[in-house]
Every structure is written in C-alpha cells, then in structure tokens.
Symmetry: C2
Subunit: 324 residues, 2 copies
C-alpha cells in the first residue's frame, strides 16, 4: 500500500539526485485556456521524464544484496531510461525489456545510459511474463513501471513539489491534470495532494481510444483498452490501470479527460512556442486537456503535469506544422 | 556604475516576479563536451529570455511620476518583450522600437504583451536616436537594452542564482559561457560571480563575424562590427560593447569565444534532444562554444547560460535537420 509517508520518505532519498522542476506559466496559454495555467515540466527531469523519480525511489530502497544482483524493468521507453540511469548512478546493472516498436531514440538512450536492452513484440508477447521470468532466472529485482508502491511513492514527489509551488503562486484550489498510462504518476500525485494540498484534485488525461483509466473511473471497475498500440502517445499506452494504482485513483481523482492525437500535437507546438519546452505526445495530453477541454475543467487555475519530452525530430517537426 | 550591491538590490525587487531557472545537465552533453556541462536555461524565463530580469529591475526602480509617464525601449525583440511585459505588470504603458527585420513572432508577441511597437530600418536608421527623440517628446523613460546600470543589475541576478546552484553541485571553479550582444548579461553575471563565486569566470560568446566583444577584449579597446545584420543569431547582433559594460567585461571576463551559424544550430538541436528546451540561435552560442570550442575552455566543468528561446518553427525545423 502506498501512503503519504512513503512519498515523504522517497523525497528524502531523492533529494540531491532528482531535479526539482519549476512551475512555468505564459499569459498566452492563460488566454487560450480561459484560466491560469501552471505547467510542471517533467520533461526537464533527468532522462527527460518523471520516470527517473520512481526508478530512483525503488532502487535507493534496495538492500546491499539486492543491489549487487541488479534490477530489471519493462518499459515503452521512459521508465527504461529512468531505471537505466538510476541503476548506473547506484553503480549496479540493469536489464530493460522494451517493445520492438519503441522509438529508436529511446532504445539507443537506454543502452547509452547503461541498460542491457531486451526487445519484445508488443502485440504478441507479454512484457510482464518476460520480465518475471528473467527476474527469477537471474535473481534480478523487478522494478515495475507503475504497480509498485515504491515507484508510486517516487512519482508522488512530483505532487509534493507542485503543492508547495502552487501555494507560492496562491493557487490552492483547482484541477491537476496528469498524463496517465498505468496510473503511477497520477496516483502518487493524488496521494501527495491529499496530504499537502487538499483543495487540488488530480485528474488523469489520456489519448482517445486508449482511455482505460477514464472509463474505469466512470464505471468504478477496471476497464481494458481494445488495442495495445496504434497511437502517437506511445509513452502512456497501457492495457489497463494497475491493481495498486486504481483503488487510489478511484478514491482520490476527479473524472478522466481524453484528447485526440492532433490535440496532443497542437499542445506540443504551443509548449514549444510559449514555454520553450520540448514535450512528447504522451507528455502533452495534460496540456492538451487544459487547452482543448476547458469546459470539463473547474476553477480559476489549472495545473498541468507535462510528464515527458522524449520525442524525435520527425514527430516534433510534424507538431510544429500546426503553428503555420 | 554597476555594483554587486545593485545586483543584490535588484534580486530583492525581482523576488516573486522573476522565475528562478534551474541548472540542467545531461550525461550525453558531458560526453560531447569532454567535461561536466551545467546549463542555465533562461529561455524558461518569463517572455522566453533573460531580458525580463533587466526590464523588471529598471521599471521597478522608477518613481511614481516616472511610472505614470511610461517607458520606451529599442530592441531586436527579446528586450522588447521583456520591457512590454514588465511594464504591463506594473500597470504602465510602453513604447517599443523594433527593427523591421525582427522575427515577426517577436513583433507580434511584444504587441500582445502590451507594447506599442514602432518599427525602424536597422541598416539606415539609428535606434538610439529614434529612442532618445521619442523619449524626450513624450516624457518617457528610456530603458536601454544593456548600457544601463539598473538593467545590468537585473541581468546580474542570473549570476547570483547560478553561483548558488553551481556550489550545490560542487562546482566552484571554471568558465561561465554567456551569449553576448551589448554585454549587459555578461557584465552583470561577471559582477555577481566576482562577489559570490570568485573561482568562476564569465566569458562572452558571439557569432563569428559579429565578435566585437571578443576583439575588443583581445585589443583592450572597443571594436565595431562591420555589418549590423546578416546572421541568424539576431538576438545578439549589436554594433559594439557598451561604454558601461565594456570596462566591466575587460576587468572581469576571460577571452571571448565565437561560433559559426551552423554550430549554433547544432547546439539548438542538441538542446532539444538532450535537455528538452527550445533555444534560439543567439541563445545557443554559449552551448555551441561549450560543445565545439572545448580546447579553448578550462576546467572540469563548464557553465552555460542559454539566454533565450524566441525562435519560430521554421528556424527550429532547420536546426533539427542536423539530427538526421
């Protein structure tokens, strides 16, 4: 079970190793959104996404014997890079199971950061099965991408930071939009807000057609996506919310939001133009929700967690075409 | 005369109004540069460049009578936006004199931020003369872009921040590379470092062919550029170092560095890929110097002040072509 105490303990372990990202604003985005928009750019985190927080949290909690044997993770790319760098900085080895269709950049980066990459077929194989089998075989500790209390605690440190930063800007009520795959970041932030900023409410944001969390929250039961791939928001395409994350999301979050691929790309373009940050499609669905689903949002201010920026020049170039 | 005390006083006036930008790092950039690279992304500052600091510093020091009459500024774009927003947030009016060939985005933004824009011909007219004439005519206070002690003091707050941030990362010796036009940012940072981090040395970075500061430092006398335009680094094309900034630069800075347009574009591409930030060409010459002039730099670590990110999709797209 993840708790606020675990998040606060993770924040202590992360201190000095994880970057505190700022809270960015632009009068141009405020005008588009019809309210104040505060953006927490986790693309500026080490390895280009919030995933480094959860990876550091989990690895820094291992004992000496576990550290010596090393860790294993499965990931579409951002968790992979986070675990690889966190492992390397702890002086231990990491095996990373990645889908064959992950962006080449993420595969290359994971290797360069010290990870041993094992590729699998997203459509026909289960990364969970491969991961557990390899973990057992080599005695590696599996660092799950989201359904793991220590990982949720690490991601939740994002919520501790934004609660304090929002208070400094006199924002203590409103929605906190979070890009959501399996729900690790969203549930961690929701727990942190419950303890430190009870007037702020986390809301998961997803791509249309892959809105398993939104539908799960609406029905009160875990729902699956029909497809496992086929959307530009590769970082947040997960089959369903986690068994650990969903009860937290159900208890604490507001309704889910979903946006089209084009809206995610338009948000990337506006983040380039107005915030000078690089977002990947899956890291921009929260900003897209703030800009293009404003009637579904409550309050005078909205907080946007922009979760990652690991995109390539081709995809980014396509997003920038929306500016012309 | 600008002093450390003026910078510290400016920091007090800026507190809560200007964003403290983080210090970013990437193991990939470290490898390319052959040493640790710490990047201070002033592109994340309000209005997309450090210029907001100097503008706020100057405007916040005006008396009630001066505030009521309003301010005027001349700028290729970044100072324009900084002054326009700082004036608007003080509830006062601003007139901004901009070159006809400034990027359309900068002109549009300056207007949207509340500035009254007056265009001039960079090749045949003197912005200084136009500025002084309009200032006298309407009783406006002229906010000079760099040769103004209050502006230098505001830009110098960048140096106060980075001195503290570098110390937290155990960096207390090395070069601080600063994108340099008229020298306001470089001289302000140099003064701040003299007081707070004497082991760090500011070094101006310029585009080749517009390296007036580098040549001025080498000869000990103020040197001019032959041309006033014709380089993609539009933000830092100034005819010569300022009468106030140059003596500070001469006393405190290390030798200047200069890079080609292509090197600036390559640095933009690497900042996109490795730091997830958007730099404009003139804001990337410091990073380009760190990456492509490493034999001219001293120390195990180098600090890079990436001064602005106000570029458009077309220029950015061209920079990203260097990644393929």
């Amino acid at each position: 079970m993840s708790t606020l105490e675990m998040i606060e303990a993770a924040a202590d372990r992360l201190h000095g190793h994880v970057r505190e990202t700022p809270l960015l604003t632009s009068p141009f985005l405020d005008e588009l959104a019809g309210r104040r928009v505060l953006v927490k750019p986790e693309c500026l985190q080490h390895t280009g996404s919030f995933k480094f927080r959860g990876a550091w949290s989990a690895i820094s909690a291992l004992n000496a014997k576990e550290l010596k044997r090393g860790v294993i993770a499965y990931s579409s790319g951002n968790h992979a890079q986070g675990v690889a760098l966190a492992a390397t900085r702890h002086g231990i080895s990491s095996v990373i199971i990645m889908p064959l269709d992950a962006p080449q950049l993420k595969i290359d980066n994971t290797r360069a950061l010290g990870g041993e990459v094992v590729l699998y077929d997203r459509a026909n194989e289960s990364r969970e099965e491969i991961g557990e089998a390899l973990a057992n075989e080599r005695g590696l500790t599996l660092i799950r991408p989201y359904d793991e209390p220590l990982v949720i605690a690490g991601q939740g440190t994002t919520g501790l930071e934004l609660a304090r930063q929002a208070a400094e800007l006199d924002v203590d009520r409103g929605d906190v939009l979070v890009c959501c795959g399996g729900g690790g970041l969203t549930s961690g932030i929701a727990l942190a807000l419950e303890g430190h900023a009870p007037g702020l409410r986390a809301r998961p944001c997803e791509p249309e057609g892959f809105d398993d969390v939104k539908r799960s929250l609406a029905t009160g039961q875990i729902q699956n996506n029909n497809a496992a791939a086929g959307n530009i928001c590769d970082a947040i395409l997960t089959p369903q919310p986690g068994d650990i994350t969903f009860p937290i999301l159900k208890r604490l979050c507001g309704p889910g939001l979903s946006v089209t691929e084009e809206e995610a790309m338009r948000a990337m373009a506006l983040a380039f133009l107005r915030l000078k940050i690089v977002l990947e499609p899956g890291g921009a669905v929260s900003l897209a929700s703030a800009l293009f689903r404003k009637d579904e949002i409550e309050g005078d201010a909205v907080i946007v967690v922009a979760s990652g920026g690991n995109t390539d020049a081709e995809v980014f170039g396509k997003a920038l075409e929306f500016l012309t």
